[in-house]
C-alpha cells in the first residue's frame, strides 16, 4: 500500500455514477477497485502508528491511516470475494462470520482509541480504493471535526438493567373441596396484581438508575433492550443505555453504578466499558429520550 498524500484527489469531483460504472466495468482488480474497509476517523495529527501494528483487521489485513484534509481514516484492504456488495450481503447472514468481523472491527477501534480520540465508523463500511476513503473524509469533513472536538477525552460506558428473577411462584393453596371457581379466580387475580406491581417497581427502578446516571453523563443514549435470543440472559432486560463520560470521571461513574446496584434490590445492573464513543458520534441531543 502506498501512503496517502494530501494532494486533492481530482476524482473528488467526479460524477459518482460514472465512477461507479467505471469501477464495475473494470472489476475489483484495478488499483482503484481495491476494497478498503474503514474502521474509524481520527485527526491526522493523532493518527496512531504503533497501536495499528499490533492489530489486524477484519480480513486479517494490516490497518493503516489514510490521510486527507487534516483527518485520517483507519482502513485496511479487504478481498472483494468477501467484501464486495454481493458477497458481503451473503456473508452478513452468517452469524459466525459477522461475529468475527465485529470483534476484529472493535479491536482495531479499541487499539486506536487507547490513546487518541476516534470516531468509529459503522460496521461493514467498505469503500472503493484510497480515493473512496479520501472522498469519505472530504464529504464528512465538518461533522468529523465537530464530533472529534465533542468527544475528545470522553469514553462510553454501557449500563444494562435487568429485572431480577421473580420470586418462585407462591405455592398455590391446596385444592380442596372448598376451593371454588371464585377462589381460583380471586387467587389468579392477586397473582396478576403482584406481577404487575413487580413490573412497575422494575420500571421505576430502571428509570431512577437512568436518571441518576444521565445526570452524571455528558450524553446518554438508549439502545433497545436486548433480545434474550442474543443475550442468553434469563432475566428481562429493561434498560440498555450508553453514557458519555469524561475519561477521568470513569472511576466515579463505575462507583456510582455499584452503589445503585446495592440500592435497587429488585434489579440487576451490568456495566460494560470503557468503549470508544460508538453511541455518541451522532449530533448532540440525539437519543436523549427518556425510557
Amino acid at each position: 500500500m502506498t501512503d496517502a498524500t494530501n494532494v486533492t484527489d481530482p476524482t473528488d469531483t467526479a460524477d459518482p455514477t460514472r465512477t461507479a460504472e467505471a469501477t464495475a466495468a473494470a472489476g475489483a482488480t484495478t488499483a482503484t477497485g481495491t476494497l478498503e474497509y474503514a474502521y474509524a476517523v481520527v485527526r491526522e495529527a493523532d493518527a496512531p502508528h504503533a497501536a495499528l501494528e499490533r492489530v489486524r483487521g477484519v480480513a486479517g489485513e494490516p490497518v493503516r491511516a489514510v490521510r486527507h484534509l487534516g483527518l485520517a481514516v483507519l482502513a485496511g484492504p479487504v478481498p472483494a470475494a468477501d467484501f464486495d456488495e454481493g458477497p458481503l450481503r451473503e456473508r452478513l447472514e452468517d452469524l459466525t462470520w459477522l461475529e468475527g468481523v465485529a470483534r476484529a472491527h472493535q479491536q482495531v477501534v479499541d487499539a486506536a482509541g487507547a490513546d487518541t480520540c476516534v470516531i468509529p465508523v459503522r460496521m461493514a463500511t467498505v469503500c472503493r480504493g484510497e480515493e473512496g476513503l479520501r472522498r469519505l473524509l472530504a464529504s464528512g469533513r465538518d461533522r468529523f471535526a465537530t464530533a472529534l472536538d465533542r468527544l475528545e477525552g470522553r469514553v462510553e460506558w454501557g449500563v444494562k438493567v435487568y429485572a431480577a428473577s421473580a420470586p418462585a411462584a407462591e405455592p398455590s393453596a391446596e385444592p380442596s373441596a372448598a376451593s371454588s371457581g371464585r377462589d381460583y379466580l380471586r387467587r389468579r387475580s392477586a397473582q396478576r396484581r403482584a406481577s404487575e406491581q413487580r413490573w412497575e417497581h422494575t420500571e421505576e427502578g430502571a428509570r431512577r438508575v437512568h436518571e441518576t446516571l444521565a445526570a452524571l453523563a455528558e450524553g446518554a443514549r438508549l439502545h433497545p433492550p436486548q433480545d434474550v435470543r442474543l443475550s442468553g440472559e434469563a432475566d428481562r432486560n429493561v434498560l440498555n443505555a450508553a453514557y458519555l463520560i469524561p475519561h477521568e470521571e470513569s472511576e466515579a461513574f463505575a462507583h456510582r453504578v455499584g452503589e445503585l446496584a446495592g440500592l435497587e434490590t429488585a434489579l440487576r445492573l451490568e456495566l460494560t466499558g470503557p468503549w470508544a464513543p460508538y453511541s455518541f458520534v451522532a449530533a448532540e441531543g440525539n437519543g436523549r429520550a427518556e425510557p
Partner: protein
C-alpha cells in the same frame, strides 16, 4: 444486584453488546461505499430479527432517509 466492572480488555465482550454499538452506533457513511448495512435485506429470518432488534428505533441522524430497496436476487 451484581455488577461486573472489569474493563473490556479483561474479558470477552458479549456479542450483543458489540452489535449494539457496531450496528447502531458509529458514523454512517453514505455514498461511495459498496453496501450500507442498513440496506441489507437479510434473508435469514432469525438473523434479520436479531439485527433489527439492535438496529431499529435508533437511526443515526447522519443517516439519510432510508430508500426502499428492491430485494436482490441471491
Amino acid at each position: 444486584m451484581t455488577t461486573s466492572t472489569s474493563p473490556l480488555a479483561h474479558r470477552q465482550i458479549a456479542l450483543v453488546d458489540l452489535l449494539d454499538r457496531l450496528l447502531a452506533g458509529g458514523v454512517v457513511i453514505t455514498g461511495d461505499v459498496t453496501l450500507r448495512i442498513a440496506d441489507v435485506d437479510l434473508v435469514r429470518i432469525d438473523l434479520r430479527a436479531l439485527i433489527s432488534s439492535v438496529n431499529e428505533n435508533v437511526p443515526s441522524p447522519w443517516d439519510e432517509p432510508r430508500e426502499p430497496r428492491e430485494p436482490e436476487e441471491p
